[in-house]
Symmetry: C2
Subunit: 337 residues, 2 copies
DNA sequence: CGACATTATGACACCGGTGTCAGCTTTGAA
DNA sequence: TTCAAAGCTGACACCGGTGTCATAATGTCG
């Protein structure tokens, strides 16, 4: 089986390379007759253009980088799924780049990534979506980027988010409507903008419903299961014990559930527990967690799609969208007795 | 900031492109003086070779594809971690390719992937590691590949696995030593070779310890949480109820635990439960699952490393290694009363 | 010291596409 | 009918590296 290049197609079809290239790229100024002739040869010879040669000529790689640092494997996978789908739709490839760095090191790490992999664009997922230094750096290097789930809306960048504040508001209000007034809250990682957003939603729900905010019911977590265990220990030892706990994500909520169970507390009879994210664990444990589902794949898909179209033809108006998060009620929350 | 190409380096250093290229690739036949001179210019100009141009010239992409289809996000992430690390060490990139297809469609899907992305090699993870048609196809196309966690050992391919059969044997024997004789077993997905291996280990442990194998205690699962729920329902309704359940992975084990808890059974007092894989959920639930930990990252890392070195210089003897799996005991298993 | 092997270097084509531009053909308006 | 504008096509250089081969410089041995 011989290699089929643009040259073989050209000579086989009796036209020049350039004309073949025109057909490939759907350029105008090719007669219908010629176009069809070439397209037929494509099929006959089973020709696929070489993206590497193309990349060299156009100084592009057709690769989008995806930057993340998230303890939740399911979140990562969902991000990848959405990003991959968008990439495939436009014949791009996705390069994943998990990354634990911060500050200076982060920048130089990304710089190296850009140097060696020649990315055409980069998708930032939390917590990188809101890292000002990184965004500034990318802007200065003129690397197209898109931000997923960022809280800060700049005027000139692609950004697709979901409404964390509103989601937190709704789930807190759900607890309040069940009669809970003593609702503990576990914060997420301080680097994530979602942490602040979810906290705001919690406080707004309390305020809206005339419940006084109590500092003592708030614990600092970092989204990890482990941090949830620590926070849970403090919260469950409070006296009087709060009747509900809203953890900023499902892993921490699962930790609360585990500890409560170990302490012989019945969930939701003795205490209600709510999470956030609708991670798989939320339905893998008993009782299932009431939580907030976000359209992660959809967000990432939109972000990457916009990023790619921005790369091909820079737009003026940045694409900025906020998608809805949805309350999912399961067995871990119930009316107070 | 201007682009630094091999031409700028060459003229700046006062040598030809080719000489620069020689230095880049550590080729012989360059005098020490010249080499150092060029290396210095590399630093001064902060030069990084363009992998795309390189790829075009050498007909390579420096991209390894990673094929998987696995319900466990944590497994996928671990595979990616190991593969990425190995790729970075050798200046390769990793292209992930989740893939739900089988048979004909799978082959044509992979064919397209190879066409459009020009992969230099491909890592197969379960269940693809043991798909004969796929392996045959890759061999016929002369695409280098490596197999992770495959059960079948061919003579001529790179393969890194862990000992599933032995792991299953050990965990079953662990239950037996705790006094269990009625040990139910939930099988995995029939497409995965691990399914058969784990089942074998289970039976060998029974046989070794003089316990008669009982067909009625075996349920067919498919590694998904959901399938675990179905199998658990059947098993927990048996009478007499088995005193222990060994599920082929942790998700199914978690499902058994959930159902048992819903049925007011105490784990491990009323029934012991064991899993396999040491997925995060194994320690996120209460009681924590006794399970088998495999060095997934290590396996993938070795597989990719070997694959890359095979690409650069094909070896005669295939690299075939079996790593050890390790028993991890948690609270979900206990001595029978 | 001369013949020959070895090492060091560069000229140039090539990988497989795209960009530029010139030249020919067709179209359409005056 | 005429001529400018628009449509179509191909020649050729170029993207940034590597492979081949010729040639110059250096080393080796009888």
């Amino acid at each position: 089986m011989k290699k089929v290049t643009i040259n073989s197609v050209a000579s086989y079809a009796g036209v020049s390379k350039k004309t073949v290239s025109r057909v490939l790229n759907n350029e105008p100024n090719v007669s219908d007759a010629t176009r069809e002739k070439v397209l037929k040869v494509f099929k006959e010879l089973d020709y696929t253009p070489n993206p590497i040669a193309r990349g060299l000529a156009q100084n592009r790689s057709f690769i989008i980088g995806c930057l993340y640092d998230n303890p939740s494997k399911s979140y990562i996978t969902r991000v990848q799924t959405g990003a991959l789908a968008a990439c495939h739709e436009h014949n791009y490839n996705l390069l994943i780049h998990p990354c634990e760095l911060r500050g200076e090191e982060l920048i130089s790490n990304i710089e190296q990534l850009l140097q060696t992999s020649r990315l055409d664009g980069i998708v930032l997922t939390p917590p990188f979506s809101d890292f000002a230094e990184l965004v500034t750096f990318l802007k200065s290097k003129k690397i197209p980027y898109a931000r997923v789930a960022s809280a800060v809306l700049e005027d000139d960048s692609i950004s697709v988010r979901s409404n964390d504040e509103q989601g937190a508001f709704e789930i807190t209000e759900h607890l309040i409507k069940l009669g809970h007034k003593e609702i503990a809250f576990i914060k997420g990682h301080p680097d994530h903008s979602a942490t602040e957003q979810r906290f705001k939603g919690y406080r707004r729900a309390l305020a809206t419903n005339g419940i006084e905010f109590n500092e003592r019911l708030v614990e600092e977590g970092n989204f990890s299961y482990h941090s949830g265990v620590d926070s849970a220990r403090t919260i469950l030892d409070l006296s009087p014990r709060p009747t509900a706990v809203f953890a900023s994500n499902d892993y921490m909520a699962a930790a609360v559930l585990k500890l409560a169970t170990q302490m012989q507390l019945k969930v939701p009879d003795d205490i209600s527990i709510a999470g956030f994210d609708n991670a798989p664990i939320a339905r893998h444990i008993w009782p299932g967690l009431t939580t907030i589902a976000q359209p992660v794949e959809e967000m990432t898909h939109q972000a990457v799609t916009q990023l790619i179209s921005h790369i091909s033809e820079p737009q003026e108006s940045p694409y900025q969208v906020t998608l809805e998060a949805k309350l999912i009620t399961r067995e871990s929350t119930a009316a107070i007795k």
